[in-house]
Symmetry: C2
Subunit: 233 residues, 2 copies
């Protein structure tokens, strides 16, 4: 997808109408692409990434601060960590099809960089930097409302939370306790996939059950349920 096709895509799908196309192009350009195209006069994305990284951090921070007026700084920080990180930004880069619009060097293309989370994170930040310069802070918030902030309501960020560690911290805050996970059921479906059911217990007392296609997933599901029940009290 060329930068001008991507501009049209953004207009149709996210109501974003870029004015400064060279700026959009800069956000989508990887260094080796410029080395291979010496007639190109623009820069690569790295300066815009420097800007966009700070804009993302501040915009997410302001949003969480206002959305959760009762949370303390520890809860806010935990939530921000799950939102502002490589896997998250790479996901949203794909959601808005940034991956298809990157101008990559040939070697990077062959090495699969177009689907590499670390590059997609950089490009997401660079794109946010360009959007901020071209359209202002409100346009950034509008885009995040349609993507990153909407994902909170879909529990999207739960996948990045280590609920087993959180449950352990919570349970051991007042001193040492014995936490155990045990399999209570194991089934094989007709398509040969498996389903595990486990429970998590503290000092022998069952807190919650969970299921998943691997033991790890089932344990995480049980830990998440126990953690959420404990913190809801």
């Amino acid at each position: 997808m060329s930068p001008s096709d991507f501009k049209s895509y953004l207009e149709e799908n996210f109501q974003i109408s870029f004015n400064n196309i060279p700026l959009l192009q800069e956000a989508l350009t990887q260094r080796n692409y410029l080395n291979e195209h010496p007639k190109e006069t623009g820069r690569d994305y790295q300066r815009l990434e420097f800007l966009g990284d700070a804009i993302m951090q501040a915009t997410v921070t302001e949003y969480l601060f206002k959305r959760y007026p009762d949370w303390d700084e520890g809860q806010l920080t935990e939530m921000r960590i799950t939102m502002v990180q490589t896997k998250s930004f790479a996901h949203f880069a794909r959601v808005i099809h940034l991956n298809e619009a990157i101008r990559l060097g040939k070697g990077e293309e062959m090495n699969g960089a177009r689907d590499r989370a670390s590059l997609l994170e950089d490009i997401w930040e660079a794109f946010i930097g360009a959007l901020f310069l071209d359209q202002g802070q409100k346009a950034v918030v509008d885009l995040l409302n349609q993507t990153v902030f909407a994902a909170i309501d879909e529990n999207f960020f739960d996948q990045f939370i280590d609920f087993k560690s959180r449950l352990q911290e919570k349970l051991q805050a007042q001193g040492s306790v014995d936490i155990s996970y045990e399999i209570e059921k194991e089934e094989r479906n007709e398509d040969n996939s498996q389903v595990f059911e486990v429970f998590v217990a503290v000092d022998g007392k069952t807190l919650a059950h969970g299921a998943g296609q691997s033991i790890k997933d089932a344990e995480k599901a049980a830990a998440q349920k126990a953690y959420q029940e404990l913190t809801a009290k």
Copy 2:
């Protein structure tokens, strides 16, 4: 200085007129003060610090990005590191007399927390968070123009730069070289203070001279001069 006196001080000296006094108070309140005053209903500064930290980072980033259009992301990052750090924020907290307005617990007061850089950094960030909420981003930029950004032109941040390390990185970028510092003069003033003069040489060739009241200061001055001459080329 009470929060309302501090409000007047801000109006007279920085043209900042806070609307939400409880918010200003929250930014100035340390946790133990609340423990000692159970009738106080407000919070301590920590939520506002979470917000203000991100606002400072983004505001400094945008400023540097626009002020130095020819710098690459490495130069921008280096400059931001010297500006966004404990000693820097503690300094500006004192400049606007935040230290006099903090509501501290008695134990912290006795332990000298009012002059502790880490607390002053937190309070600076919390104050910026409160200013952002009360008056918006433009008011934050206005205050930084009078303080943090003005300090760039006074070379204030040079004191936080490790010029000896920077010079070494610069000189060794193309391979190993021999860097040496040597004292060329040592004088004792009538008040018993000393002045040292040193030069820095690379592979035996003198790059620059520097003077200071300690050998360390003189070496730093020589390294700074050599580094700035090399990077100005």
